[in-house]
């Protein structure tokens, strides 16, 4: 896999971002103080100039870090909100992974003498109608959100890449047929379709992950296709073909590495949507079945009567869900600004 193809993609993104800053579109949460990336050498070239866009970054100053590490350094340096988002995500991950160790109780451990405790030294966030510790349940709930979120996004991104690259690269009748099917899928309000499928499959963590992954993949294959479509016209693809590379080599070795930043952006910005959708399905009783705790399920209507007695039952899961969505949104936005500003504003 030639390394310059990867370089050229980030280069392109960086160039567009810098030119956007010059025109006055500061990324909403970074000061437009004109700080330049280490490879600001290409700045004089207009990004509209097709030659400059397609020119592989052979002459670029060699970066000390590969781009996938450099992005994180850039986020911490230039994106305060992205850093906050990243910290929330890391905290949530830690809570979910270490739930067995740090949770003070078992997630289904009931204690009828301690029902509806508000806040106490033993129960920091209170207990529910069966005396189950809310903090414990929130920690285990994070597991479901992350398991379904990451699982569905991983599955969906793979699907989106396969469908998008194949559709964009090969084009023709294949593309036309595939895109009509995608059209049909996208004509459904997503929640109605997901509800229909989930209520028939029956609620389970695996089912919801697969279904959400499928929906995510179909929806985002459009974006990947658009990128693949434009990459196909670049001279480096032409030269690879001229040198005798087959379709597999061109798509895997040249198109795929250049689509990768877009996929990363789509995946991170999509995580919050997937987590929210999982929560809404669990809210309706179509997600992960009880007694395993989920944030959506803890909020659900089934417990509404108890919430009048104990409002914290509604408040804490809502806060946890909002924080998680906020964290993934901010991290995703920061990554998008750095990796692929073309996707901005959608």
């Amino acid at each position: 896999m030639p390394s310059w193809t990867r370089g050229s993609a980030t280069k392109l993104g960086e160039e567009l971002r810098l030119s956007a800053e010059r025109r006055g579109y500061a990324p909403s949460d970074s000061p437009a103080d004109g700080r330049r990336a280490p490879d600001g050498a290409l700045l004089p070239a207009s990004p509209q100039d097709p030659k400059a866009r397609a020119k592989p970054a052979l002459e670029a100053a060699r970066k000390s870090r590969p781009w996938y590490l450099d992005v994180w350094v850039q986020i911490v340096r230039r994106k305060p909100l992205g850093t906050v988002g990243g910290a929330i995500v890391v905290l949530m991950l830690a809570g979910a992974v270490l739930a067995d160790l740090i949770a003070p109780y078992g997630y289904a451990q009931t204690s009828l003498r301690e029902r509806f405790v508000a806040v106490s030294a033993e129960h920091w966030l209170g207990t529910d109608q069966l005396g189950r510790d809310l903090l414990t349940r929130l920690l285990y709930g994070a597991r479901v959100s992350l398991y379904v979120g990451f699982g569905a996004v991983a599955l969906g991104s793979t699907l989106a890449t396969l469908v998008g690259v194949a559709s964009g690269y090969f084009g023709g009748r294949f593309d036309l047929l595939l895109q009509r099917a995608v059209d049909a899928w996208m004509a459904f309000p997503p929640l109605l379709l997901l509800m229909s499928i989930m209520s028939l499959l029956g609620p389970s963590a695996l089912n919801i992950t697969v279904v959400l992954g499928l929906a995510f993949g179909v929806q985002n294959s459009r974006i990947v296709r658009a990128v693949a479509l434009s990459l196909k016209e670049h001279t480096f693809v032409e030269s690879a073909r001229a040198l005798g590379s087959g379709h597999v080599r061109v798509t895997v070795g040249h198109i795929l590495p250049n689509v990768l930043p877009t996929i990363i952006v789509v995946a991170t910005t999509g995580l919050s949507t997937v987590i929210l959708t999982e929560a809404s399905l669990s809210f309706l009783g179509l997600g992960v079945p009880p007694p395993y705790p989920t944030w959506g399920g803890m909020l659900s209507l089934a417990g509404l009567d108890h919430m009048y007695q104990a409002p914290w039952l509604a408040v804490w899961p809502a806060v946890a869900l909002s924080l998680a969505v906020f964290g993934f949104n901010m991290l995703g936005d920061a990554l998008r600004d750095l990796l692929d500003p073309r996707l901005k504003g959608g």
């Binding site: 109605l192 229909s196 909002s322």
Partner: protein, 314 residues
């Protein structure tokens, strides 16, 4: 223009045809059997076979599909519910005004908030009000509407002994009573949807305000109010409209949850209850009708661009 509309309609037909096949197959290929549940749980018929025959479930799948779609295309008959035997279209038409009102009020709330805050944010870029607006939009983006809805139902009940009105009153019976009921759900849903509108309004207005014709307007000596509201806003609204259009399916999907929480007898609740009872014809037909609406709406939105920006011609 006429040609463009015709072409779009012609493209919509195969799309909707595919949609109908997708819903139909999804329901048939999945596990879960409505007949068993109707006989065992509710004794709708003496035997399973008799009920299957009654409902037409014993016939081959392509025949069932042909009957369903044929009745829709030829007679406008969307079938009957398995459980109540009532025509689906009648029920849909009876309930649709509730969902439509909820959607329109929600859009109104989110657009008014989003556009106003967006204008202030863009016109006073990097000021305190811009900062507050941006924080608000991030907030609105992060709070899940059903979480907010549950909190809004629960907390005022505890603090002020106030609960939303649970019995629905149609708009035609008493507009004032009806609006009182719809206001809270629409506010809750609208506020959480205002975030993306705020953001896109701000960035699009900032974009337009930097164009040459705006500089010309400034040098003519026009007031800021006139420049922002008369000259810039109209062009800046195009991305906002396309966003609202793109989000339309989300409004409809979200109405299922909002209607369930606030007990509004709309299409969303109809759909949700039918799903719980595996009422295939209802689930199929409601999905199809709503998909058709989404397709038509997208066309209307595309046409509205020509009205907003005279440079766009079809």
């Amino acid at each position: 223009m006429k040609q463009y509309v015709l072409r779009r309609v012609a493209l919509a037909v195969p799309t909707l045809f595919l949609v109908s096949i997708i819903v139909f197959l999804l329901l048939r290929l999945m596990p879960g059997d409505v007949a068993t549940r109707m006989v065992e749980g509710h004794a709708y018929a003496p035997t399973l076979a008799a009920l299957r025959h009654d409902l037409g479930l014993d016939r081959p799948m392509h025949a069932q599909y042909a009957e369903w779609i044929g009745n829709i295309v030829l007679r406008g008959d969307f079938g009957r519910s398995y459980w109540t035997r009532q025509p689906i279209l009648d029920e849909f038409v009876r309930r649709f005004p509730v969902t439509l009102e909820l959607a329109l009020l929600t859009i109104l709330v989110s657009v008014v908030i989003g556009v106003l805050v967006g204008i202030v944010s863009a016109a006073r870029q990097d000021s305190l009000s811009d900062y507050v607006g941006r924080v608000l939009s991030i907030f609105a983006l992060s709070v899940p509407y059903f979480g907010l809805a549950v909190v809004v139902v629960v907390l005022p009940a505890i603090w002020f002994r106030w609960t939303p009105v649970w019995t629905y009153v149609p708009f035609t019976v008493s507009p004032a009573e009806n609006l009182k009921i719809m206001l809270i759900p629409a506010l809750v849903f609208g506020v959480t949807r205002a975030g993306p509108i705020m953001r896109i309004m701000r960035s699009s207005l900032l974009d337009v305000l930097r164009q040459d014709y705006i500089r010309t307007a400034w040098s003519k000596g026009l007031s800021e109010r006139r420049i922002v509201l008369r000259h810039a806003l109209k062009n800046a609204l195009i991305p906002v409209i396309s966003l609202v259009g793109l989000q339309m399916p989300l409004y409809i999907g979200g109405s299922v949850i909002i209607e369930a929480i606030f007990r509004l007898p709309g299409v969303g609740l109809f759909f949700f209850e039918a799903l719980g009872k595996l009422d295939y014809p209802v689930v199929q037909s409601v999905n199809l009708i709503i998909a058709a609406m989404v397709v038509c709406l997208n066309l209307l939105i595309d046409l509205s661009y020509a009205f907003l920006d005279p440079r766009i011609r079809y």
